[in-house]
């Protein structure tokens, strides 16, 4: 459940980097820990994000979690469908459940590859 072509933050966001833009979401592990999501609060188009800084939050019935941007950049697109259907993140966290697209202003330093992230999950699961 950890795609090889993505980069990961320890805080369980993924980033798909294509040239100078990136698509961002949360991982299968994160959605599984949170349970059925009921609400997502995402940044707005045009907002500037700094890598590691808070960019929004997700809520389920019994939990809430902040979202941290895995990269630095400017938001170019937001997945508006999530507002009325946050369950898409549970069902398909890496494709239909994407959250935002970002025009990068920096690199992907500090992000983990799939195998390093797998270890993070394995540790947290204990």
């Amino acid at each position: 459940m950890i795609p090889k072509d993505l980069k990961y933050a320890k805080s369980h966001e993924w980033a798909k980097i294509e040239g100078d833009s990136a698509t961002i979401g949360i991982t299968h592990f994160a959605q599984d820990q949170l349970g059925d999501l009921t609400y997502v609060d995402l940044p707005k188009v045009g907002q500037t994000l700094a890598a590691g800084a808070e960019m929004g939050s997700v809520e389920s019935v019994k939990a809430a979690s902040e979202l941290y941007s895995p990269v630095s950049g400017i938001v170019t697109e937001v997945n508006a469908a999530l507002e009325s259907a946050p369950e898409m993140i549970n069902q398909d966290p890496y494709v239909a459940g994407w959250m935002i697209k970002v025009q990068l202003t920096g690199g992907a330093e500090g992000l983990l590859d799939a195998s390093a992230y797998e270890q993070v999950c394995a540790e947290e699961a204990h």
Partner: protein, 444 residues
């Protein structure tokens, strides 16, 4: 010992199972340095003796006075059925409805309460209530601060000063700016309020009727606020909402109220009820509990506490508020009250209150030297200016069995001679006549 059922034999058996030599042994971890230095309390009394003592204390309160006090807190008739129903132990000996299957009574009642108060204010969402009208106003201001990311609050000076001092206390550690806009003869200065709004303002806070009893249509102010991205917050008097233009019709974003006038006795300041309602745009900022409708595993309708991820037990220090309860029993009483009166009953109540106050204003203004503080429209409360200090008038009339009103000078320097007079459906025309005659006599 009353209310503790364990007999000596029970205690012996329980200690045996625990494996402790004595009850005191259960407290062995409390070291000698932590033991009480004293515990000097009276010995217990019989139920009869305590009730007699409390009756004596109750008699030391002069509640048989004829009273024209309001100031945001009103003595309305409470239908007898409110007491009878709210004292059903299934309601009042229950805890917060954490187990929804065993709490459908409380949960559906709160859902109905939320419905009733949103219909009164004309907004879309309500929470299950907070402590009182003052904390509701503070929480509304904080909703605006979170929503806008701004830190300036524009407050009308004619908003109940009791709430304004609470707001000042609560915000003192929070790096917020309070800009208070002076009233004009007891009316809100709409032009000055509008001019005070800017791009740094989180919210504008007003009251209808305001502390002086004066009525306003804040529609234009709220439209101006919207244009600047400012959240409009209004606090209202629920009884008059039966006839007055609703916050929703005026374009408010958050409407709050002190719910005391809906089925709660004055009780020297509490328990009361903080009503909170808001638009869809603001609902994510709402503090406190909320009840939502859903279905069970068999598709039957049921009710649960919902949107709890905003709350302190999940969010901890990032919660929207530290409030983790509601005034459930007070909310229940207010719902029962509204149902027993119904649309027609509440409208009639509002109309009698207004009619009596207008009659009283006419009678008092006819006394030489007495005039209405302004000619602005008012509801069930109004201010008169006396030729003497209001305190003096209160002192004299009170000693003759009539509390004529509230001295506005207590909160508004320069208005030492102004008296705030309230009427409800319990105020008879005869009582108003007595007040007018006594005041006339005093001023001769």
């Amino acid at each position: 010992m009353p209310y503790v059922p364990h007999t000596p034999e029970d205690i012996r058996r329980m200690l045996g199972v625990i494996g402790a030599p004595s009850v005191e042994a259960l407290f062995a971890e409390i070291g000698p340095s932590m033991r009480p230095k004293s515990f000097d309390l009276p010995e217990g009394k019989s139920e009869m003796a305590v009730l007699a003592q409390m009756e004596d204390l109750a008699r030391k309160n002069a509640v048989s006075q004829m009273s024209f006090l309001g100031a945001g807190f009103y003595d309305h008739h409470i239908p007898a059925a409110v007491d009878a129903l709210s004292m059903r132990s299934e309601f009042y000996t229950a805890y917060t409805p954490y187990q929804p299957e065993a709490s459908q009574g409380t949960l559906q009642a709160i859902f109905e309460y939320q419905t009733a108060v949103t219909r009164l204010t004309g907004l879309t969402f309500a929470n299950a209530s907070v402590y009182d009208g003052g904390s509701a106003l503070f929480e509304a201001a904080m909703m605006a601060v979170r929503q806008t990311g701004r830190r300036r609050l524009v407050v009308c000076e004619a908003l109940n000063p009791i709430y304004r001092v609470m707001l000042a206390s609560y915000t003192s550690n929070l790096n917020l700016e309070l800009a208070t806009i002076a009233h004009k003869d007891g009316s809100c200065d709409l032009a000055a309020l509008t001019a005070a709004l800017d791009g740094d303002t989180a919210a504008v806070l007003v009251q209808n009727p305001n502390f002086f009893g004066t009525l306003h249509d804040f529609g234009a102010l709220f439209a101006a606020a919207k244009a600047q991205g400012v959240v409009s917050v209004i606090t209202v008097y629920p009884v008059l909402q039966a006839v007055l233009k609703s916050p929703g019709e005026m374009g408010a974003d958050v409407a709050v109220a002190e719910g005391q006038s809906l089925g709660l006795p004055l009780s020297f300041g509490g328990p009361y009820l903080g009503i909170m309602t808001c638009t869809r745009d603001m609902v994510r900022q709402m503090p406190g509990r909320m009840v939502g409708r859903t279905v069970d595993t068999q598709g039957r309708t049921g009710y649960v506490l919902t949107l709890q991820a905003r709350e302190q037990h999940i969010r901890r220090q990032k919660a929207t508020s530290n409030i983790c309860s509601n005034q459930a029993l007070c909310a229940l009483r207010s719902l029962m009250h509204l149902c027993l009166l119904g649309e027609e009953g509440l409208r009639r109540t509002a109309e009698i209150c207004i009619e009596r106050a207008h009659y009283a204003a006419e009678r008092l203004a006819a006394i030489p030297g007495v005039r209405l503080l302004s000619d602005a429209p008012f509801g069930n409360e109004f201010a008169v200016s006396l030729p003497v200090s209001a305190y003096q008038a209160i002192d004299k009339l009170t000693s003759r069995g009539v509390v004529p009103g509230f001295p506005l000078g207590r909160y508004y320097p320069g208005l030492e001679n102004a008296l705030l007079v309230a009427c409800t459906e319990k105020t008879s025309k005869e009582q108003i006549g007595i007040l007018a005659e006594m005041l006339r006599g005093m001023l001769l």
